[in-house]
Symmetry: C3
């Protein structure tokens, strides 16, 4: 593994945040029905622009126009699978990065087959919890619904294998997020347990990843920035409230509030 | 009707809340498109775990894995009706309780036929407003869209008939909720009119019902607990704000805040 | 253009708001997947009643029962296009007004063709940003996703042409909203840039328009009232918070808080 100092990664994250606010990437979200509004609000809060375009014909057309594509399999239906099968090659042809979020892959067989099929189409990033990453890599996890039954540590080898085989950066979210890609590894210790008490925070991480990729120096740097930026926003929000309703609102406010000084003071990039 | 003291029902509700937090039931929600996020956040706030799995093949598979199933007909489409027709028998075979929420049954003919068809598949609970319960039982209510044009009192006989015929506990929501099942009846006077100014609070009651059933001593106790817990959360929230936007957030915070002492102090179980 | 004093329009807006609270119009929303919950909460907050009924058979039936219909093309799929094709003629036959919101029309070809097809079915109002109105009228705008790349000024002639040809009032939202219809024109300078940082605020404007039409003296007055009422709510909310999460909540609270005195004090109707 190549060495990267944590200071370098913090600098890259700050530059990326500035670039994101300057360029305002347009993120095409093919995501699940539960989190569409929260995902859109998360992207708007951090400074990106969301668009959910679901008709297969339009998804094909739009994936080439947007700056990045998010593919989240949380509530797959036949029409949406069709949209994903057209949008991904369209994004690839146009040179636009795409993110795979394999929600609840493992216990459910249809989405597990589908996610294993599309991960071969070369996503720039895969974002999942430990159980999802284990299952995507062909191992048996202990996920229950959308929640992980495994620790990020347990999924490290699966993440490394996925990253090496597909070329994607892999972001395994958990108490300490684990990131691997392009021969580098890092841990991110930002974030708060309240983030698991609001629906869609994990899915929002996939969306932020898609927003970071077009302005990042590398896939690995985008994955680290994603974990750091959302994690710091969670830390800030948890300082203001300990209840899940108001936490959801405080998290959006905190994403808007993020700046270079806050990132420098609060980023907790650790040895993986 | 068998006599149950109100103190017994309060004790049962407190025990159920403790059991819910300890076991964290996984609730499979087949619900309407408007309320998916709020339903998920409601379940997370009270201490349960939500999952929305809609593809017919996956809904079949997941209904057997989850602890309970919610079937809400608010925005039926063909695919979702297919998912419900597969998930309900799967839940029944696996011995998992399911809740029927007959949203807007009455004025709309397709969902009325569908709800009358599936209520024969033995739900553990039916949760509706007075107009919906009247219509589900084959009588003519005065509902308009998702709102009741009838008082809970007007729907009592229809609720009793439904409960006797299907074996379900029936929860008729209103200013005073009416609950009947397993030969018992109760009223619950908790709750606040602001709960009708936020979309999805009625639907969230169906989801909480599904979360209560796997940890309840009886269907009747689960229905009483559902009305008491959501109603007290509404009372608490209304003490903090009188505006509908902030009420929505305060309601989620209050669901998280609920504990045995609050329930004992505030539960208003009354003669039906 | 016929002359209307701004004082007259403020009086009409206040009377309309009172009428809306008294009659509580039921609005049938065929809208996009991202904004359904926020749209419903917006309508509840201002004093109307929302219902989302999407199955083509039910959409036909319900459009005749509701007081007004909203058609928003933000996330079209085949089933929803079918529902719209049945609901619009049903509303027309029943004499119920309907609103077209041509979200992201222009860059995406399927929805552009569809919106140009249905605008011929005589909506009472069209609500869009400048790029969408330009594209709907057959001109080339510079929209990107759901955002306008054109100023409301650039879309004036397109809006006038649409209004003259279809009979609809046309509301072009922007920093100063432009309204044209029935031979009259006005500008509305209420509103705040934070409204673009919350998903669904533009779509909520279409829903409020649908709620205003059944209680308005004219289509033009309904369009002016829509822009004034939502704009003032945005002004109030922005005085309370500058962050997008809490702004979303403050906006809903402010819609509930609106009354005649606030409207009289704050309405900024200007020369177009």
């Amino acid at each position: 593994m190549r060495s990267t100092t944590h200071t370098d990664l913090v600098d890259e994250t700050i530059a990326l945040l500035d670039g994101l606010r300057a360029r305002r990437p347009l993120v095409h979200c093919l995501t699940n029905q539960v989190v569409k509004a929260f995902t859109a609000n998360t992207l708007l809060a951090i400074g990106a622009a969301p668009a959910m375009v679901e008709h297969p014909a339009e998804a094909d057309e739009f994936a080439a126009m947007a700056d990045a594509l998010l593919v989240n399999v949380g509530t797959l239906d036949e029409a949406q699978m069709g949209a994903m099968r057209r949008a991904i090659p369209s994004a690839n042809r146009a040179g636009k990065p795409w993110v795979l979020d394999p929600v609840a892959v493992g216990p459910l067989s249809l989405r597990t087959r589908f996610a294993r099929e599309i991960v071969e189409l070369r996503p720039a990033m895969v974002r999942g919890n430990a159980s999802e990453i284990l299952a995507l890599a062909g191992q048996v996890g202990r996920g229950r619904g959308v929640e992980s039954g495994d620790s990020p540590e347990a999924a490290r080898d699966a993440a490394r294998e996925l990253a090496a085989r597909t070329g994607a950066a892999v972001l395994v979210s958990g108490a300490v997020d684990f990131i691997v890609g392009e021969g580098r590894e890092a841990g991110v210790a930002n974030g708060h347990i309240l983030m698991t008490r609001v629906t869609g925070v994990g899915c929002a991480m996939g969306a932020i990843a898609a927003a970071c990729l077009p302005v990042a120096g590398s896939r690995f740097a985008a994955a680290v920035a994603t974990a750091v930026l959302l994690g710091i926003a969670g830390d800030l929000a948890a300082e203001r409230t300990q209840r899940p309703g108001s936490f959801q609102i405080a998290l959006l406010d905190a994403l808007d509030e993020l700046d270079g000084a806050i990132v420098r003071r609060r980023a907790r990039i650790v040895a993986p």
